[in-house]
């Protein structure tokens, strides 16, 4: 029987030679037209907005560290950073997959609506701030104010969390394996159900981690801030 695997046509950009605009323009307008499905990016050297705004089923492999907003607003594409990411990695992602093999700076996955963000190392402060439906799996720990006002989606933290985890959470759910220095306002630990353990198991598998789901705790909203309390102490 003939080999049914689709043919991978690859293309390489070297940002020491090619401009960022040439790269992003190719990813937006030419890659799908030319049938190129895998794009390698060399010497990213901390450039901003690499592979932002993609809207096609592309496999983008970035070999080195990137700056602000890598793979922001991603749809459909799989973007892998073989290195560290600056602030706002995969911010406002709609679908697809973004994988950072090193650490990610502040506000990773901010406001992301869908897709999966995997960070093998640590994520800095405000990871998953205002999350709107995406899944985030962090292999290391997360900084303070992570999942602040997160509305929907799931965050799996394999390491520790710093201060104010899940402050003012809405319907997003956090699963954390390590220590939590402090919970934010209205966030609380809740019992893990079979559904939670199954969710953690599948997210860990999707992210390539091998932890026992039984080691995770669930953090969700106590929903005490959902309604205005006229009698509450209103001093700020």
């Amino acid at each position: 029987m003939a080999n049914l695997r689709p043919l991978v046509i690859a293309r390489e950009f070297d940002l020491a030679r090619d401009t960022l605009r040439e790269l992003n323009s190719f990813l937006h307008r030419r890659a799908a037209v030319e049938g190129v499905s895998q794009i390698h990016v060399k010497n990213p050297d901390g450039a901003h907005s690499i592979a932002c705004g993609l809207n096609a089923d592309l496999d983008v492999q970035i070999h080195g560290h990137v700056g602000y907003y890598v793979a922001g607003m991603n749809q459909h594409a799989s973007v892998t950073v073989h290195g560290n990411a600056g602030p706002g990695a995969a911010e406002n992602m709609m679908s697809g997959r973004v994988h950072v093999t090193g650490f990610a700076s502040t506000a990773a996955g901010a406001s992301a609506h869908g897709g999966l963000l995997v960070i093998d190392g640590d994520a800095s402060l405000r990871c998953g701030i205002s999350l709107k439906g995406a899944d985030i799996v962090v292999g290391g720990g997360v900084g303070s104010f992570s999942a602040f006002m997160a509305q929907a989606g799931r965050i799996v933290i394999c390491g520790d969390a710093e201060d104010a985890l899940g402050d003012s959470l809405y319907e997003a759910v956090i699963y954390v394996r390590g220590k939590v220095r402090s919970l934010g306002a209205d966030a609380r630990f809740e019992a893990m159900t079979d559904t939670d353990r199954a969710a953690v198991k599948s997210l860990l598998a999707a992210a390539g981690f091998d932890h026992d789901p039984a080691q995770f705790q669930r953090v969700a909203s106590a929903k005490s801030l959902y309604h205005w309390h006229a009698d509450a102490d209103q001093e700020y």
């Binding site: 901390g46 450039a47 560290h65 560290n84 600056g86 650490f103 502040t106 900084g143 303070s144």
Partner: protein, 300 residues
């Protein structure tokens, strides 16, 4: 928004390349700070009871030879003076008391500003694009053990050379800042009754004078910074230099970025990795982001 860069050479063999290694770091931060730039470089200390003063004349026409002559006449006797001019900048080296020298310059050479005083520090700052300022003062030729640099995008006070960073206070101490303080006037109100004078309305100057005051009160730099956690309100990544030390600290919310790269040969600090990417052996460097309210320092 602003850009900060710092470089400390652990390997003394690299010290004649300090400026050459740094210029791409500073120019790499142009988008974060296109309106002004500055640099404090720490050289081998001058001996024989001498001090160095970095002088700056801006757009004023100053005959540096006449400045030196005036100083030689005013501070006669056993004192020796030397002046190395470069355009609107000069480094005065003198055995005279630096406080009296600075006071004499303020009184008799009103077109000349004293940017720094110390035994190791040379200070440069001006308005304009970082690459132009680096070329103007031949930054690529600078030699020394460590440096503190800044590119500025003004947010809270005017674009003038005096408002550019680094700020200095006392001797061999400087500070650069990415961020904005919300209580600089309160800090100033606490310091002015102690006899501490301010040169600008800039928020960073308040922080600089606060830390230098703490150092004079006997704090080491780390203790001074811990006092700053209580006194200074606002957003900051501060990078500070003394003749022996480079220190970085970020506020509790870590709103302003910073990346550190460390190898056996150097410690390099920048607001973003793109200012570090050109450094030798960067691929083998240990990279990390300073955590909020954690103090990181390195000594030569």
């Amino acid at each position: 928004m602003c850009g900060i860069v710092g470089l400390l050479l652990k390997n003394p063999a690299l010290r004649d390349r300090l400026g050459a290694l740094m210029v791409p770091m500073l120019v790499g931060m142009t988008e974060r700070g296109p309106d002004s730039a500055g640099l404090a470089v720490y050289t081998s200390p001058v001996g024989d009871e001498r001090h160095k003063l970095s002088l700056y004349s801006g757009a004023n026409a100053v005959e540096w030879s006449q400045v030196l002559q005036g100083i030689a006449e005013a501070f006669a006797g056993d004192e020796t003076h030397d002046l190395t001019p470069l355009g609107n900048h000069a480094v005065l080296t003198s055995t005279a008391d630096p406080v009296r020298l600075a006071a004499w310059i303020a009184r008799h050479q009103p077109d000349v500003a004293v940017l720094s005083v110390g035994r190791s520090i040379d200070l440069y700052k001006d308005v304009g694009a970082p690459a132009d300022i680096a070329a103007r003062y031949r930054f690529e030729t600078l030699q020394g053990s460590h440096l503190v640099g800044h590119t500025r995008m003004a947010t809270e006070s005017a674009v003038t050379p005096a408002h550019a960073h680094p700020f200095t206070a006392g001797r061999d101490f400087c500070l650069v800042h990415n961020g904005s303080l919300s209580n600089p006037h309160l800090v100033r109100k606490h310091l002015e009754p102690l006899g501490i004078e301010f040169e600008t309305d800039n928020d960073t100057e308040a922080a600089c004078r606060f830390f230098e005051w703490r150092l004079r009160e006997g704090d080491d730099l780390e203790t001074a910074v811990r006092h700053g956690f209580r006194e200074l309100d606002g957003f900051y990544t501060f990078l500070m230099g003394t003749d022996r030390e480079l220190l970085i600290v970020r506020d509790a919310f870590a709103c302003k970025p910073a990346v550190v790269a460390e190898t056996d040969d150097y410690v390099a600090i920048a607001s973003e990795f793109r200012s570090l990417a050109h450094l030798p052996d960067i691929g083998a460097a240990a990279l990390f982001e300073p955590k909020p309210e954690e103090i990181y320092s390195w000594r030569i």
